[in-house]
Amino acid sequence: MDRRYRFRRGKDRGMAFLTFLCTIAVLIPLFLVLGFLVRTGASALNWDFFTRIPGAAGEPGGGMANAIAGTLLLIGLAGLFGIPVGVLGGTFLAEYPNTRLSQLTRFTADVMNGIPSIVMGLFAYVLIVLPMRHFSALSGGVALGVMLIPTVMRTTEEIIRLVPQSVREAALALGIPTWKTTVRVVIPTAAAGIVTGIMVGLARIAGETAPLLFTAFGNRFWNWNILKPVAALPLQIFAYAISPFDDWHRQAWAGALVLVTIVLIVNVAARVAAGRQVKLR
């Protein structure tokens, strides 16, 4: 065999091996984190953890039921604010791509995506906490909701743009007005993709801690009033992790495990939704 050919083949195999190594390098930290979480967190997971609120400082026992509920409440509030703005904004960007306003909005969304999350917390603090003079679930929901907007908006835009022009034209040629074409034909065609974008966005904000520090604030008791401070898993994990008590440390690990599981479930659900997307290519 030709020497130069063998050299090229060697290079080819070398590169293939390098890409394989890099893939493994990505997987290792993920599985280390998951494995470590399960090993340390699972021991503190018990029925109490899901049903009880935290015990008194230093005393063993108690759980994070209120924090789990609080996180779900905050995600719900964030979705309530973020999803409509994101979906409708994304629809606008996709259907009117070249107006001044849409260019500005697209740029703003991209910048917002890069803003540190604690700044979003400050924003909600100034906007809601200061005027109301106390921390609240509402302000935490707004902070997370604002963080949700750019993700949802941009994925909605991308997926709606994938809807072929021929589908729009089919509707318009039937004498269906433009707005109805968008609402009844284009958005349903893109629906599963939009839902996927929403879930990925929700999974991302579910673990946010910084924006909640001075908005939702945390709460050691049950609270369903959105105008009062509320517990959240990330906050509780943070508080327990820096505490001096071994039992709380274990509970912090358990909390982290639950949080990661929630995020994982949402991500898997997003995958399922994505699988239902009508093929657009």
């Binding site: 034209e169 318009l172 040629a173 039937l174 004498g175 269906i176 349903p188 629906a191």
Partner: protein, 271 residues
Amino acid sequence: MVQVMEVPRVDRQAAALIDHTTGIQADQVHAWFDRLHALRGISMSIAERKITAIIGPSGCGKSTFLRCLNRMHELVPGARVSGKVVMDGQDIYTPGVDPVQVRRRVGMVFQKPNPFPTMSIYENVAAGLTLAGEGDRRRRDEVVEQSLRAAALWDEVKDRLHKPGTSLSGGQQQRLCIARALAVSPEVLLMDEPASALDPASTLRIEELARELAKDITIVIVTHNMQQAARVSDFTGFFLDGQLIEFGATNDIFTRPQDRRTEDYITGRFG
């Protein structure tokens, strides 16, 4: 609708001259895509309840002209139209005329079958009605069946009306699109190379269907397949570089073209 005088088919050229109840009159239609002057003054009369074919090489403006007849051209960003397109004595480009209303009267079938991907066969056909707020279920069922029958698809799909429209074969999808267009009872049906993505058997079915439909409605069909134009149409217009070079009874265009360029094109010397 005006009852058209029954014209003997043998004398098509004469028919073109005496048929004054024409479906559509285009008068000096110009169209642009931004700077590109795609149509340069098209004037032609499209006969009611006849099939008019538009032939010509790629890029000659035949699809653009078709899209000017139901105000679809203006949907392309930067697109512009001037001139008159008169239906029932009214210019559809008069300010104040709602393009949505025009499109209800002038249906369209596209080159590639484009059923709504999220909708079932039934929903696809009913789409024009449901989205226009026709709430009566029984009336909808009726229209769906009629339209599917008119599109010669009913027998093939009657047992699976609630399967996705995209589950059909290409030829069936195209007939589904025709049924969908027919469901809103248009007066004119525009067909933009409706068979170019189909196999010969499906093509033939579409052509037979067009002949059948032309008993009730006016059809304008764009095709780059000259045999198709010869087989299916009553009148033929030959487009070149955005101009109507020749227009007349199909028989004459294909046997005694008056213009050298028409002759070159139909004998396959270019295009």
